[in-house]
Amino acid sequence: MLEVKDLHVTVEGSEILKGLNLTVNPGEVHALMGPNGAGKSTLSAVIAGKDGYEVTSGEVLFEGKNLLEMEIEERALAGILLGFQYPVEIPGVKNIYLLKAALNAQRVARGEEEIPAPEFMKLVREQLSFMKMDGSFLQRAVNEGFSGGEKKRNEILQMLVLQPKLAMLDEIDSGLDIDAMKVVAEGINSLRNADRAILMVTHYERLLEHIVPDRVHVLVDGRIVKSGDKNLANELEARGYEWVLEESAA
């Protein structure tokens, strides 16, 4: 589904990603781990299409198509959704409006009819209660005045409504208490299916207790230096990153 090949990315003149390779297949959950500054968030930003990231070489394919040539919204319509580490507040735009506009943009792109209002409200209400959010959320402006945990839940709510093919979650666990973490993890787990891929960028192993990954990658200095199964995450938790660095240098 997602193929990242020898990706080099420069931000403000300095190279952050230095030949990153990664393949994510449908049905898989990948965790990308690594110390601060390794380039974890850069990868998701490049895939989402954020400005200020210059791809100097390499390619990113999504379902065989060159992702880097697509507009930001085209990537979203193709089925990629990024859950932000720091979701932006959008004063004046109601959550409900964003959800409906985004869902309809997808449907129109697929050549379908816009969703009828009752069907939409039913869908949204179901997902809301699943995320343990109350109805007032819908009438509030996107993320405005939300606590950290509410913002993260809201990102997952958008995923549940929009049902992406590839869900990328950038440090979705940061700033969550254990209860919020459980709700968020449940939301993410409910997204798992044979056709969907999930790519999680995280610092901590804690999240991976709740969402068990198929593959764990260690990103150090712009490259994936080690990949393994879920046990790798446990090992990182126990031993830190130093041994991986030494091993890869050897």
Partner: protein, 445 residues
């Protein structure tokens, strides 16, 4: 020869069979206009607004109101309303609809009102806006012929809006008009008045309107001014409001069109309990210039005013906001709030904003502020990552900026019109009126 004199001379001698007192009023207006002259940038109130395009223009007065249904339909709003239509200032009986007026309500063209009831109307008109307010009000007095007169009797509640349309045609040569609007809202009456200025594409006319709104004790008036003149039209307006005890006036000053636009809005809160709400929105692009000057006079204790003006400027457009609140001596226990926020969508757009407070009493609650900013690019990105295209993302955020003002608009037809102008065609109403209904229905189910 002064520019003002030359301006009147170009119009030539007018042959009218008006009563002498009307002719005398005209002459007084003309004399005052010539004495004041067109304002220049040296006048503080006109510092940022250059009216040479008006002063040097060659305009004639229209003498017909021809506009077929199709052309009118392209300009007017589908409002279920009592409707008065003027075409380049000339009354059109054919396009107006004054059937089924409620008891105690009279809506007439000025000429008719003057003929049938000249004592009541002649005395009221010009009482709030005489020849001294500005050169343009003087010019209006000199040249005004027609207008709308709305009288709402004591206790009358007018359910439908009173919709006054001023259509500006794409004429072969430029026209000008100097309409009057007079609204006399009786005690405890309730009404909504919409002044709609709509220009055809290619219209290049000059409109110079003076409106007076008088609210007696306990009257409630919602006043909309929706200005959608063409990109070549020149538009000068002043709105003068006088409020009696416990009356409530709500103004919506919505400017979307025009090449050069100036609006003055003045309210005198003359008795206890009077409250006024100023909601303003201007959206300008290209080389449009829109100037809003507002003034609230708290002439009595226990009066309230709240002003919120939002400006959205694109391209090389220019905006001016000058909002003044004056609290007279002994006007204690008043509240006055004022806010102006502007959104610049282009580096070359420009806004001059000046909130002013003059307070001569000590027991007051007042605040004012002005901000200017740009669209949040992070928010644009964030919306696009949800599949919303860039144009719509920017439109939504722009509309969100206008939200506080738009949320107050109680006529959906007007809200939709403004939404479309600001954000383009959206898949649905920004306030999601239909979804709210569905949601409520689900709640009950």
């Amino acid at each position: 020869m002064s520019a003002a004199h030359a301006f009147l001379q170009r119009l030539g001698e007018r042959v009218d069979d008006e009563p002498t007192w009307v002719a005398a009023r005209r002459q007084a207006g003309a004399a005052r206009f010539e004495a004041l002259g067109f304002p220049t940038k040296r006048d503080e109130a006109w510092k940022y607004t250059d009216v040479r395009r008006i002063a040097e223009g060659e305009f004639t007065l229209a003498d017909d109101a021809e506009l077929d249904e199709a052309r009118f339909a392209a300009l007017g709003m589908p409002l279920d309303a009592h409707r008065l239509v003027f075409v380049d200032g000339v009354f059109s009986a054919a396009l107006s609809d004054l059937t089924d007026l409620p008891d105690g309500v009279s809506i007439e063209p000025l000429t008719t009102a003057m003929r049938t009831n000249h004592e009541a109307i002649g005395g009221a008109i010009g009482r709030l806006a005489g020849v001294d307010f500005s050169p343009f009000t003087a010019l209006n007095v000199a040249l005004s012929e027609e207008g709308a007169v709305v009288r709402i009797g004591q206790g009358a509640v007018v359910e439908k809006p009173i919709y006054v349309v001023f259509a500006s045609r794409a004429n072969e040569s430029a026209r000008m008009s100097h309409p009057r609007v007079l609204v006399m809202a009786g005690a405890r009456s309730q009404s909504t008045v919409v002044e709609h200025y709509a220009g055809e594409v290619g219209a290049a006319n000059f409109t110079n309107v003076v409106s007076e709104v008088m609210l007696e004790r306990g009257a409630i008036v919602d006043h909309y001014k929706l200005q959608e003149a063409s990109s070549e039209d020149l538009h000068v307006a002043s709105i003068h409001v006088e409020q009696g005890r416990d009356s409530r006036f709500t103004s919506f000053n919505l400017n979307l069109g025009g090449a050069l636009v100036r609006t003055d809005l003045v309210t005198d809160l003359n008795a206890q309990g009077a409250e006024t709400h100023y909601n303003g929105l201007f959206f300008v692009q290209g080389r449009q210039h829109v100037d809003n000057h507002t003034l609230v006079n708290h002439n009595a204790p226990n009066t309230f005013s709240n002003e919120n003006y939002k400006g959205i400027l694109n391209d090389r457009a220019r905006g001016v906001f000058n909002g003044k609140v004056v609290v007279k001596r002994d006007s204690q226990q008043i509240e006055a709030y004022q806010n102006n926020a502007n959104l610049l969508l282009s580096d070359r757009a420009e806004i001059d904003t000046k909130p002013e407070l003059e307070i001569y009493a000590d027991d007051v609650k007042c605040s004012h502020g002005a901000t200017t900013g740009q669209l949040d690019e992070e928010a644009v990105f964030s919306l696009r990552t949800r599949g919303i295209d860039e144009q719509m993302a920017r439109g939504l955020l722009t509309l969100a900026f206008a939200g506080e003002v738009m949320d107050q608009v109680r006529l959906p037809v007007i809200a939709e019109r403004v939404e479309r102008a600001v954000a383009g065609k959206l898949p649905e109403r920004f306030n999601l009126a239909d979804l709210v209904e569905v949601s409520d229905a689900l709640e009950e189910a």
